[in-house]
């Protein structure tokens, strides 16, 4: 009924990363918010990388 393994395309990845960079500018110097930013960027990369590994037959996470 739905795609339960949704991956980010190249375009979606860059849009999302740009949004994250822009949003967190306001919180520069705040350690916890910097940690949240890192987590969100890592999650974007994981969602995108898993797509590439599926194409190459390496499997997802």
């Amino acid at each position: 009924m739905h795609d339960d393994n949704r991956r980010l395309t190249e375009v979606e990845l860059s849009v999302r990363k740009a949004g994250i960079d822009s949003f967190f500018e306001t919180y520069e110097g705040n350690t916890a918010m910097a940690e949240l930013k890192s987590i969100l960027l890592a999650s974007c990369e994981q969602k995108h990388d898993a797509s590439a590994s599926e194409v190459s037959g390496e499997g997802g996470d």
């Binding site: 739905h2 949704r6 949004g19 918010m33 949240l36 969100l40």
Partner: protein
């Protein structure tokens, strides 16, 4: 300037007679499925969305629901009540969609609220919190802003401007300009409409900035929604999360990826089914 909250509640937009009858009927502990079906049929927009959402990953049912009677029996009256109340309130504020006022668009506000709700739900499931209540609480946490904007557009506009230009938390800026905590107003409005108490209490927890995991989950979801290009208002300053809160919400990046992935899927479906 201080606005009287009870006067605002008296000015809430009324539901249509058929929706009002449906909501009143659902306040009873039990309603005959045949009666409920008849009442739902008199609210075609809401019943259409009930069927769509019943078949979405929101409920994760293994079989297709093809009729309202099936939805009533399979979802159960308690679940259906929360869904119908949610859809009724959104439908009641639909006329505000498409408007651009005070630097915010109601379409954008609903998308922000819906993404926050989807992530709150997936995080709540992962942390064994009440996923259904947190979904609805996150969805309606900013309802008071829409209501307040109808009452005093000028004060809200100035409060938004101050929040954007001075990096002030919106709820505090609005309070200074109107004397109203708009998240408290969201709580009062849902209670006025007799929403289930667990949902009202979850919103009150946000308004009172309670130090609970549920509030941390919704607060984090709100930040993530804004970072993912679903801002409440562009350039708005949101309350930052603490390190302790962050550790409690996202104990690891794979955990975060899993919850965010589920929220993305849910959001894509519900954005069509709920917001149209």
């Amino acid at each position: 300037m201080t606005i009287d909250m009870s006067q605002i509640l008296d000015q809430l937009p009324p539901f249509s007679p058929s929706v009002k009858m449906l909501m009143q009927a659902m306040e009873a502990d039990f309603v005959e499925p045949s009666k409920l079906e008849t009442l739902l049929l008199s609210c075609p927009v809401i019943s259409g969305r009930v069927l769509q959402i019943s078949n979405s990953s929101f409920y994760g049912l293994s079989r297709q629901i093809e009729s309202l009677r099936e939805a009533i029996v399979i979802l159960g009256q308690g679940t259906l009540r929360g869904l119908i109340y949610t859809l009724s309130v959104i439908k009641n504020f639909e006329q505000a969609k498409g408007d651009e006022q005070n630097g915010f668009s109601f379409d954008v506000l609903w998308k922000h609220s819906l993404y926050s709700a989807c992530l709150s739900r997936t995080l709540a499931e992962a942390h064994n919190e009440d996923a259904s209540s947190l979904f609805t609480a996150a969805l309606f946490q900013h309802l008071g802003l829409i209501v307040l904007n109808r009452v005093d557009e000028i004060a809200v506009r100035e409060a938004v401007r101050v929040s954007q230009s001075e990096h002030r938390v919106l709820v505090e800026s609005i309070y200074e300009h109107t004397g109203v905590n708009y998240i408290e107003l969201s709580y009062q409005a849902l209670e006025y409409w007799h929403f289930p108490q667990d949902i009202c209490n979850a919103i009150r927890g946000i308004a009172c900035v309670e130090n609970t995991q549920a509030v941390s989950l919704i607060k984090t979801s709100t930040l993530v929604a804004s970072a993912f290009n679903y801002p409440l208002i562009n350039g708005l300053y949101l309350p930052p999360i603490s390190s302790a809160e962050l550790q409690g919400v996202f104990p690891g990046s794979h955990f975060a990826t899993k919850c965010i992935n589920e929220a993305d899927i849910l959001f894509e479906q519900l954005a069509k089914d709920i917001l149209g």
